[in-house]
Amino acid sequence: MEAFEYARPASGKEALELLGGSFADSEILAGGMDLISLMKNYVLSPKRLVNIKGISEFSGIRSTQQGLAIGATTTLQELIEHKTIAADYPGLHQAADAIPSPQIRNMATAGGNLCQRPRCWYFRNGFGLLARDAKGNPLVPGGDNRYHAIFGNDGPAYFVNGSSLAPALIALSAQARIFSANGWREVAVADFFRTPRNDNERENVLQPKEILGEIVIPSASKGLRTSTYEVREREALDWPLATASVALKMSGNKIEKASVVLGYVAPIPWQAKEAGDWLAGKTLNEETAAKAGEAAVQGAKPLSGNKYKVQLARVCVKRALLAAGRA
């Protein structure tokens, strides 16, 4: 990696002063599980790292009037061990718990998990965020795209978002609280992600001098049922091939409201709105769950090598729904 400056501010305000005007100037460092490997491979070479792990404003999990606030620097392990999360939001707990390796879970943070860079081997091999050849042509459509997007892949981005937590948080209608010189602003986690149009944009709405400070999950209401189902090729250190997180408002066996969010299928966590809408008013059973899975993949447009992911997404939705019903 290239040499860099290292700063460890004690407050959010101090951190903002240390952050530069562009991502090339500085990057926020949390657990470093993603950022450091990208730097080692010269994919990113920021001049300065600003470590936010020592900043108390962004740490810890607390109950607020709005709901449960999860500080951005909360480690995955802290999240997994949190009793309220395990009890009230099993879909989020499951998503965190399945992320591999104690080492990663002990270092990686919730904020870093949401902001981690795309899972795309062209990007990670130095062909740029949008993976193009020297002439500017995209490499993914004509290349090996077995792990790429089946939704939202009209270009220029074809990668998938790598966060397991994001779909679970979006299903819960969580809010992202962003800290900047103007104070705090709030966006729905659903709106936090976006597909970059060029190599200088990021995969989320954060500007270079903004920090994701915390994530707030609305208090669990009566009848809330959540679940996450993932398909992984192997148990060892790996990402899922596809996931579905669902949040249902149930009354008895009946679904009043449903939110279905897919992971690892698009450049952003993918909200399967049709599936959610279709489920409203239905009784949850094998058949409706399977139909919801069908609805969720209606608009899928697989690339040359990833048709199988359509089936995986379909099954993830079905199984997540059935598991939520059993919970």
Binding site: M1, R124, R232, E235, Q311, L312
Partner: protein, 709 residues
């Protein structure tokens, strides 16, 4: 005089027992020092600049900027201007600097210009690759398959194969080098301690005797670490130029790109049987790539030799990267192709493959009896007859189970090995060989043989290996190490013992012929009252130790093993995810010296095999000519959670032990791909034609089956 022949079963105190490896505690506590861990005073770090192009002519190499970078002490060229590179990752130049980061920065500052040439990096068929990239090898033919097909009751046709995979050694390739005057020391991660001096000497223009190779422990080679390699010579040159020790081990991406690959082999197969399952004819057209070179002509069918058979292979030259011997070269690929086709044929007959293989067992030749015993043993351990169901027979729900089996064979034998055994007057014992322990347990085997021969406990013997100053021993390849080192050690220890017996004979009745070394004493055979404890016996040597030599002894070893494996898998029909539930091996390797490390060898092979069956593939991008998964994130290896129950049964006793020692390094890794592929076919009712068996391929196979139905 003591006899050097292997002791009979009832007289073995150590041989054949389960004995923990001597370096186990050192390794598991992190104290074993691998080449990677060697740090010399004033040591520099070496890094290389690699070609990003799969095929290109180097037009310019400019190192001036790099030479001026902070900390840089030496720069050396590996490639020449005007020469074509044949794969991405080809080493162009190397630098040595004070810190690893400085060396990396400096290597990146070397300016290389290329004239980019067309490349082929896909695992193409001969038709896709075209004539320029295809070379048809000679047909192998016995009998005449075509008329036999016409008369057969059951015939199947299929395409099977496995892609290029890498060795992915945990300890990457490389070394630390240091000069003192014209003496070169190399701490090398190598499978060939005694051979490397002969490679360094001409390259460095010094006599071979000036090259000292040291490899006390090493972190995996699997056939990819026989040579000094360009990085070895570059490292020695950097050391020479800088006057400092230099450490240069490959980065992980470099390791995966160039430091070892197993060739792909695919085959279109037609195979037929009579109504009773008797195999009558085989015909195959195969192809595959070993990078720019060739990996030889595979022998198809594998293990079974039906009366009528023909096979032809086309070698495809590509810019995928160089191939190296990968644990049982070509055998895992040949097993996959053959055993898959045979199980498909059994399903077509239809027949339980266990019965089908037993029916045809005589077609395996001299090992037929071994295979038969192993098939029955493995079937018992797998509970095959109870668990097996006809292909495509399903249970309710998405999870389907299936069983598969495969046979394999390997040579073994023993390489040329020299051993010195020294008995000191204080009673301590050393055995020294210029051999190496790749993690197989060779060190422990040597200790066991020496201790058994001298009637001593294992702890009483000091094993010196991993240094070319010890008597020369062959490279560890072809599963020849255990045969070589066990027999040379046996002979050396036996010779030393006989010298000792001669010395102590006067104190024990005068007749050395009547003496034996058992249980820590030298005693008169059949007279327990007349003995000398080992230490007192050795004291008779006065001040001069005994050193006796031994060499590979063909009468103690043999060649040719048979093995049978079975797998039970479960497949999620909706996601295509395959889980290995259980693997069973019945494996022969002649006389087992250490049952524990022999079993470990098979466990390790299972794990390596599960990995290549389900996950491994060197994934290349034709657009850029680059390897897309030269990292541990996308180059997927199985972890603990991916390994099911592993059951290993070593075939021992009469009929096995009396053949002498035979190698085991390679055989058990041959069948896992075939058994897992067969088990998946049995579970889901359709063949997934190629490895690795990913969810994507399982779903595609199910879909194609649905389309046909």
């Amino acid at each position: 005089m003591a006899d050097y022949k292997w002791p009979a079963a009832e007289n073995r105190s150590l041989i054949g027992k389960r004995i923990s490896r001597l370096d186990g505690p050192l390794k598991s506590s992190g104290r074993a020092k691998y080449s990677f861990d060697v740090n010399r005073p004033g040591m520099l770090y070496g890094k290389m600049i690699l070609s990003p192009y799969a095929h290109a002519k180097v037009t310019k190499i400019d190192t001036t900027a790099a030479e001026k970078m902070p900390g840089v002490k030496a720069v050396t060229l590996i490639w020449e201007v005007g020469k074509e590179v044949q794969w991405a990752g080809q080493e162009i130049a190397a630098v040595a600097a004070e810190t690893e980061d400085q060396a990396r920065d400096a290597a990146r500052a070397i300016k290389v210009e290329y004239e980019v040439l067309p490349h082929l990096v896909t695992d193409a068929t001969p038709q896709q690759a075209g004539a320029d990239h295809s070379k048809q090898l000679s047909e192998q033919k016995t009998g005449d398959p075509d008329p036999a097909f016409a008369q057969a009751a059951a015939t199947i046709e299929g395409t099977y194969g496995s892609p290029v995979i890498t060795h992915c050694c945990l300890e990457s390739h490389g070394q630390v080098t240091e000069w003192q005057g014209d003496q070169l020391t190399v701490w090398a991660s190598t499978q060939a301690v005694s051979n490397l001096a002969g490679e360094y000497a001409p390259a460095m223009e010094i006599p071979a005797g000036n090259v000292h190779i040291i490899t006390p422990v090493m972190g995996g080679g699997f056939g990819s670490k026989f040579n000094s390699d360009v990085w070895g010579f570059a490292c020695a040159r950097l050391s020479k130029k800088s006057g400092r020790a230099v450490k240069m081990l490959l980065e992980r991406d470099h390791e995966l790109m160039v430091a070892g690959a197993r060739p792909s082999i695919y085959a279109k197969v037609k195979v037929a049987a009579k109504a009773d399952g008797t195999l009558v004819a085989w015909k195959s057209e195969s192809w595959g790539t070993a990078g720019p070179g060739s990996a030889g002509n595979p022998t198809l069918p594998y293990v079974f030799r039906p009366e009528n058979r023909s096979s032809r292979h086309t070698a495809i030259s590509t810019n995928i990267g160089p191939a190296r011997a990968w644990r049982a070269p070509n055998h895992p690929q040949m097993a996959l192709i053959t055993m898959s086709a045979l199980e498909d044929l059994a399903a077509a007959v239809p027949m339980d493959p266990l019965d089908f293989f037993l029916k045809n067992i005589e077609l395996t030749g001299t090992l037929a009896k071994v295979y038969k015993e192993e098939l029955l043993k493995a079937a018992e351990l797998m509970d095959w007859k109870k668990k097996w169901h006809p292909r495509g027979q399903m249970v309710a729900g998405p999870i389907q189970r299936g069983l598969g089996l495969s046979l394999h064979t390997w040579g073994g034998g023993g390489h040329q090995s020299n051993c010195n055994c020294t008995i000191h007057p204080d009673g301590s014992v050393e055995v020294s060989l210029g051999s190496q322990d790749l993690g197989t347990g060779a060190r422990t085997v040597i200790g066991i043989v020496a201790a058994e021969t001298l009637g001593l406990p294992l702890e009483a013997v000091k094993v010196n290996i991993g240094d070319n100053h010890y008597p020369a021993s062959g490279a560890s390849g072809g599963s020849t190490t255990v045969g070589g080192v066990s027999s040379s050690t046996r002979r050396a220890a036996n010779n030393a013992l006989n010298e000792l017996l001669a010395k102590v004979a006067p104190s024990l009745g005068g007749d050395a012929e009547q003496l034996e070394a058992v249980g820590g004493v030298i005693r008169v055979k059949g007279d327990t009252s007349k003995f000398l404890p080992w230490k007192q016996a050795c004291a008779k040597l006065a001040s001069t130790p005994i050193t006796a030599a031994g060499q590979t002894s063909k009468d103690l070893i043999s060649s040719g093993v048979g093995g049978v494996q079975m797998a039970e898998v479960s497949v999620d029909m909706e996601t295509g995810v395959v889980r290995v539930e259980k693997m069973v091996a019945a494996q022969d390797c002649g006389l087992v010296i250490n049952l524990k490390t022999a079993e470990s060898q098979v466990y390790g092979a299972f794990i390596m095999g599960i990995t290549y069956a389900l996950h491994e593939e060197k994934i290349m991008d034709q657009q850029t000519g680059r390897c897309l998964n030269a990292d541990m994130e996308f180059y997927k290896l199985a972890g603990l959670g991916d390994i099911g129950e592993l059951v290993v049964h070593m075939m021992t006793g009469p009929g096995y032990d009396d053949r002498g020692v035979i190698g085991l390094g390679e055989p058990p890794v041959i069948s896992p791909g075939a058994v897992i592929s067969n088990a998946v076919a049995n579970a889901i009712g359709v063949r997934v034609p190629t490895l690795p068996i990913t969810p994507s391929k399982v779903l595609a196979a199910l879909e194609s089956k649905g389309a046909k139905a």
